[in-house]
Amino acid sequence: MEYIRRLFAQNRDIVADISKHDPEFFSKRAGKQEPHFLFIGCADSRVPIETLTGVAPGEMFVHRNIANQVRSVDLNLLSVLQYAVEVLDVEHVIVCGHYGCGGVKAAMGDQSYGLVDHWLAGIRDTCVRHEKELARLGDDERRFERMVDLNVLRQVHNLARTPIVQSAWKRGRRPMLHGIVYDIHDGLLKELVMQVDGNDRASELLTTQRGSVGD
């Protein structure tokens, strides 16, 4: 009970602090939102993306799920994506993974966690696809980090294949897709693949050395 009370207390303190510097900080953002970014990230509590990037309210549209998955049957994600692309007209869609991701780790092992095992089936597929490459990496920690990267690249590819992004690209090179990863150890964001704005760039995701997703 005392934890939840703390939330309210801190909220009041923060609002008071902000309002002291800019009395209209909240009221002037209460109108229409015109965010530039759609952020698709992990539900992990250690990835506070707004704090990390310093975006103000109204600048970033956010969707988070376990292990930042983009699945073409996920109505929740598709609704967010459709609204962000077609109604809010966002310019950038970012898929962001993070090292130390519990979801990726679970998918790499054979332990069962219940319902979430179904959700992680896609990562398990990626694991199998890259079996040889991963085996070549000597230590477990490097294998884990590589899987986090590969998972992000796979999700960017999945994103590019959605009818929503495909139809947007038919109208122009917008939105741009980006794959990034967050290092929870040093707090920095790392670029994996940037500015995917058409099917030519999307298919490179499967072939380029660095961003190789397929075999």
Binding site: K32, E34, E86, V87, D89, R171, G172
Partner: protein, 513 residues
């Protein structure tokens, strides 16, 4: 559909009625045109027989037209002689043949329905107003006049005023009896007597009453001025002298060609209007080919000009009388021509016994049917966009003449049509309300007239707005619309407007703006 053989029983009596109506009209129009009286009859004969055979219209009757009288009067004066004018008539027929060959008849698809109906109602009213004086024996204006200002200096209304002060009792009696007969024929079982149409009975009874008055020595007897006045040839030689050859040398003069083109174009327009109007009266809903009609009219005018006749067009009053009397096929029009020919050859004296008052009753009744209140009510029910051009056409025709009135009515109707087109939005908004990116989808065809609605949309944009115009489902976009889009886009960025055009290639805007 009725065939000429199968419906001869209806067509023959109708032909007699049309002939009776046509005879004084042919004479009256010739009189008003300042041409020999017989020239109107020649035109009627050719219009009936030749055009009847060549035309694709089953019900329209052709002959000398009141709408052309003003042109004819001034043309005869300009060209100096009637034979020279005849040359222009021949050439005008040529102009119509060319128009037909060029498929200019397609223009008739653009006559708005409200104007055609307005024209019919106006002609109905004109018939009533112009025939009222004839019905009471005031026969000063020529038969078939359709203009507000008459050659005798009266207007339509002052003539009625004069007529009511100088009622000829015999004429009024005959008109009243004829009218009563016509109404009785239509409203009682008598109309089943198909071989004896009401108008024919009315005319025969009119002749009978006058004959009875004459026999009894009554001073109500109608004199020659109140009767049909057909020129009577005393010998075969004199009869053929009624026919005149054109002055072929006139073809070398520019003036002749100018008259020919004017006549050709005006006669074609009047014909096409009559054709549309006649098709509308057809209970069998037959559609007449306009280009074939232009060619038929051209042939008719060439022939009429060659033998001394007035120019002709398709004419509403005779066509309406034809429909009214139960005519079914063009046999009726052809027979009416034959009857005109036979009449002047064989029985001119008999025809000169027909009282104009009887014919006035026939035309009054036809006029009432054309301008029936039911028609006005129906037009009112179609909304003001239909009713206003309809009423404007009627008023304009009543107070000027047929051609000027139709021109005004057409202008009014087209103004309404354009207004509708200009207001019509050529796009659908596909984004939900309040979307950051407003998206509009252009419809299949974006015409010049749609430019206004698109320009309005663009003009409403403010800095910071985003608009996507999707033209991927467009088949046709007018060049000016594309240019406007291109010009707007070239300055949109500077104004902070994010305009995206999708699915169409924009031209580079011309320099210097």
């Amino acid at each position: 559909m009725p065939t000429m053989v199968g419906s001869a029983r209806e067509d023959a009596p109708a032909a007699v009625v049309v002939f009776l109506v046509a005879l004084p009209l042919c004479l009256g129009i010739a009189l008003a045109s300042g041409a020999p009286l017989f020239s109107g009859v020649i035109s009627g004969i050719v219009g009936g027989i030749v055009i009847g055979i060549l035309s694709g219209s089953q019900l329209m009757v052709s002959g000398p037209a009141a709408g052309l009288t003003a042109i004819v009067v001034s043309a005869i004066a300009t060209l100096g002689s009637y034979p020279a004018f005849l040359m222009a008539v021949v050439l005008s027929g040529g102009v119509q043949l060319v128009l037909g060959a060029l498929r200019a008849g397609a223009i008739s698809y653009y006559f708005p329905s409200a104007v055609i109906r307005g024209m019919l109602a106006a002609i109905g009213l004109i018939l009533i107003l112009k025939q009222l004086p004839h019905a009471v024996g005031w026969d000063h204006d020529f038969e078939g006049d359709e203009s507000f200002v008459q050659p005798d200096g009266d207007t339509t209304f002052t003539a009625i005023g004069h007529a009511l002060h100088a009622i000829t009792p015999g004429a009024l009696l005959i008109a009243a009896v004829s009218l009563a007969l016509l109404i009785a024929w239509d409203t009682t079982g008598l109309k089943r007597l198909k071989l004896l149409p009401g108008p024919l009975v009315a005319v025969l009874v009119g002749v009978g009453i006058n004959a009875a008055l004459q026999r009894s020595g009554s001073n109500w007897t109608l004199l020659a001025e109140h009767l049909v006045q057909l020129p009577i040839a005393s010998s075969a030689g004199e009869f053929f002298s009624f026919f005149t050859l054109p002055d072929f040398s006139a073809a070398a003069r520019m003036d002749t060609w100018r008259v020919a083109v004017t006549l050709g174009v005006v006669a074609s327009l009047e014909t096409l209007l009559s054709l549309e109007a006649t098709d509308r009266m057809d209970t069998h809903k037959r559609v007449s080919p306009p280009n074939r009609e232009l060619c038929a009219q051209g042939a008719g005018n060439v022939l009429s000009g060659l033998i001394g006749g007035l120019p002709m067009t398709g004419v509403i009053v005779r066509s309406a009388a034809n429909v009214d009397a139960g005519g079914k096929t063009r046999l009726a029009a052809i027979l009416h021509g034959v009857l005109l020919l036979l009449a002047v050859v064989a029985i001119p004296a008999l025809l000169n016994a027909i009282p104009l008052a009887s014919l006035a009753a026939v035309l009054l009744y036809t006029g009432f049917k054309l301008a029936h209140p039911r028609i006005v009510r129906a037009m009112w029910g179609q909304g003001w966009k239909q009713f206003v051009p309809f009423a404007a056409t009627i008023a304009a025709i009543l107070f000027t003449d047929l051609l000027v009135g139709i021109a005004l009515g057409l202008a009014m109707a087209f103004a309404f049509i354009l207004l509708d087109e200009v207001r019509f939005e050529c796009f659908t908004v596909t984004s939900p309300p309040g979307a950051v990116l407003k998206r509009v989808q252009l419809q299949e065809q974006v015409s010049f007239l749609n430019k206004a609605s698109l320009a309005k949309l663009l003009a409403s944009l403010e800095p910071g707005d985003r608009l996507e115009i999707d033209g991927s489902s467009c088949r046709v976009i007018h060049h000016d619309v594309l240019e406007h889009l291109a010009e707007f886009r070239s300055q949109a960025l500077q104004r902070g407007i994010d305009l995206r055009v999708v699915g169409i290639d924009l031209p580079t805007p011309p320099p210097g703006h």
